[in-house]
């Protein structure tokens, strides 16, 4: 029982960062942009949030956790949006290939994160020496009373606020996409931009906004890993391949934010499953770590068998749109 609770807790903790990334990518892909720069953008968000908090705590005599938190949130979001903006200018305005641009952005963003991570570490006195414990405490603060409850408190209420924020964001995004006018317009842009254009929707504006805001949300995923998961420290390539897991999760969730919630927890569980299966040798552990990717491949293959219209990627995904192109 105790092990199971810890397992669920850990799975959720692993999953939430991925969930942010996936939500950002869902919003982006719904506009018809396949942004493979998401992993890089998560690094950009993570390091920007960390630096914001770091310089605030360094500059202030008695740092306030909430202020630190707000500063880091803002920095992470803004920096990630800049990443999204670079992608948007290149692919939307300059009509560059989406895959190529995305990969370049990932190279840039990962380098950006590690570069500044390394530089800040040096300022702080060495690798692993960055500490923004005050700000991190705000991220890691648990809900009083509720988190004290046995079992329920551990499973449901033992997380920092970003976890709940991710869940709220997923529900809100689902509502936005499927219940509001702008959401409808956005889906039309991703499915058939020529039609959306003819219906008087500003395709360029929607693509820009969805991509940039999507990037911002994904950036919070980076922040989550830095603050809640790592407790406010930086290690180079610290979140490894989780950015790609976020891209995988989008497919797994079939472009639906609500699916992404349980999908992220499942991915988190698969990611750490090897730790909880008794008697697993070191070598087998490595095999288990490949599970999330294998599962995604299986989902990808199965959806391609079934060809149900509603479960397919947005029809305009990856295809650039220009009105006067002839």
């Amino acid at each position: 029982m105790g092990v199971l609770i810890v397992f669920i807790q850990k799975a959720i903790v692993q999953g939430m960062g991925i969930l942010f990334g996936a939500l950002g990518e869902i919003l982006t892909e719904k506009s018809g942009n396949l942004n493979l720069g998401i992993p890089g953008i998560m690094y950009m968000g993570g390091i920007a949030g960390l630096m914001g908090a770091f310089f605030y705590e360094r500059g202030s005599a008695s740092p306030n956790p909430v202020v630190g938190m707000l500063i880091s949130l803002l920095c992470a979001f803004a920096c990630a949006v800049i990443g999204g903006l670079i992608y948007s200018v290149l692919t939307i305005s300059l009509r560059a290939n989406q895959n190529v641009t995305g990969l370049a952005l990932t190279i840039f963003g990962t380098g950006f994160g590690n570069f500044f991570g390394g530089s800040v570490s040096k300022l702080a006195g060495g690798v692993g020496q960055i500490s923004v414990s005050t700000t991190a405490s705000a991220y890691r603060a648990r809900i009083p009373v509720l988190s004290e409850l046995p079992v329920v408190g551990d499973v449901l209420f033992s997380y920092g606020f970003l976890t709940y924020f991710a869940l709220v964001a997923a529900v809100a995004m689902s509502f936005f996409l499927f219940r509001t006018r702008r959401g409808l317009n956005l889906r039309a842009v991703g499915e058939n931009p020529a039609t959306a254009d003819a219906a008087g929707i500003n395709v360029t504006k929607y693509k820009y906004l969805a991509t940039c805001i999507g990037a911002g949300i994904a950036g919070l995923g980076g922040l989550y890993f830095v603050m809640e998961y790592s407790g406010g420290t930086w290690t180079d390539n610290g979140f490894g391949d989780r950015g790609w897991l976020a891209v995988a999760l989008v497919i797994f969730a079939m472009w639906k934010p609500l699916n992404a919630i349980w999908g992220s927890i499942l991915f988190g569980a698969l990611y750490i499953l090897y730790l909880y299966i008794p008697g697993l040798g070191r070598s087998m552990q490595e095999v288990f770590k490949a599970l999330p990717y294998l599962v995604t491949i299986i989902v990808l293959v199965i959806t391609s068998f079934r060809k149900k219209k509603e479960n397919q990627p947005p029809a305009g995904l990856g295809v650039p749109y220009f009105r006067e192109e002839r």
């Binding site: 009509r95 190279i107 840039f108 380098g111 095999v287 990808l300 293959v301």
Partner: protein
């Protein structure tokens, strides 16, 4: 409502090679200016000095020059491997995995049978085995794409990480010394399975293999019947069927080739460069090569130039890093900036922008 658009753009009918080069040079120049700005902000150093240091880092000594050439060759090799896939409009994002599997086969042979057979035989086996490994890894997503149109971009991407886990799995068995979680330099004493030195040059065989592949690919794509089929399938599958081309067959054949060459890149990395295997053996080169292949538009000469540019940047940045106490990740940041500019420059090659002439009347 009464303002007309200031500019309008239209597709260029054609563009001279000189103008094309000019646009790229201009983009590169702008990129370097931006990079200089970034560098200045970070280290407060004269950017000219910094660029000098970069040059020094990439080509300053004979040894550095050779290392630059070595890395250039690997990148070029992967890009050459990706070219036919992209020409077929098959988004092989999985070079990273194909390289790893290729390298893994090489390492396995080096570790397990080096002492049982002559070195030449071993090397040939490694070359063939690596190619076969990359080929299989490339064929898996292709099979599904050919049969059920499964999205290959995402499939190949996922396979990269599966390949990485397979490598870490093997490292557990091969680690040396025990507990280090790494393989170390394989056969350091015997040099079995290392591409041998020729004319005092460690990289002779690297050059030979990559040059042969590059020339082969150039001819294959441009002058062979199979290359023509690749181009037709890439343009339109319906046209291919109309012309009597079996799309599935061409897809499987082309990706076999693509995967095999990426596998050979893995062989070169293990046997001709690092003499070890780890998850970072490919080190993102598979992704960088995608950009190289795409920007070069399957033009082999352009691939050489772009690969050189990128490797030059990386080596240069590492030099600045050590010289000015930055960390070496600066190279990725600078590389990213340069890539953005080059990717953006393509637009100005395809389109022209004109000012709208004023309309008559009011």
């Amino acid at each position: 409502m009464n303002k007309e658009p200031l500019f309008r753009m239209s597709r260029r009918e054609s563009i001279g090679i000189g103008k094309q080069i000019l646009i790229y040079v201009l983009a590169l120049f702008l990129a370097l200016v931006v990079c200089a700005g970034v560098i200045f902000l970070l280290v407060r150093m004269n950017p000219i000095d910094v660029y000098k240091a970069m040059f020094d880092g990439a080509l300053g000594t004979k040894r550095r020059t050779w290392i630059t050439i070595r890395d250039l060759l690997v990148l070029l090799c992967i890009a050459v491997g990706l070219a036919p896939a992209f020409k077929m409009r098959f988004w092989n994002i999985g070079a990273e995995g194909q390289i790893l599997i290729g390298g893994l086969v090489s390492a396995a042979l080096m570790i397990n049978i080096a002492d049982k057979i002559p070195n030449t035989v071993l090397l040939v086996l490694m070359l063939i085995g690596s190619a076969a490994g990359g080929l299989v890894w490339g064929l898996i997503p292709t099979f599904f794409k050919a049969k059920w149109k499964t999205n290959e971009t995402l499939f190949t991407l996922m396979l990269n990480y599966v390949a990485m886990q397979i490598v870490t799995y093997c490292i557990v068995f091969w680690e040396n010394p025990k507990g280090s979680n790494s393989v170390g330099i394989i056969n350091q004493k015997t040099r079995a399975g290392w591409l041998p030195e020729v004319l005092g040059n460690d990289y002779f065989w690297n050059i030979v293999i990559v040059l042969v592949l590059t020339v082969f690919m150039f001819i294959y794509l441009k002058y062979s019947k199979q290359g023509y089929e690749v181009a037709v399938v890439g343009e339109s599958e319906r046209t291919a069927r109309y012309a009597g081309i079996s799309v599935k067959k061409v897809m499987l054949r082309t990706m076999s080739l693509s995967g095999a060459i990426c596998g050979i890149a893995g062989f070169i990395l293990v046997s001709g460069a690092g003499h070890t295997i780890s998850t970072s053996t490919a080190g993102g080169r598979g992704f960088t090569a995608i950009i190289v292949a795409w920007l070069a538009r399957f033009n082999t000469i352009a691939m050489v130039l772009i690969s050189f540019g990128i490797v030059f940047m990386q080596k240069g940045a590492i030099q600045i890093a050590s010289q000015y106490g930055l960390n070496e990740n600066a190279s990725d940041v600078l590389l990213g900036i340069i890539l953005f500019f080059i990717i953006g420059a393509e637009f100005f090659i395809k389109y022209k922008i004109e000012r709208n002439h004023r309309q008559e009347g009011k």
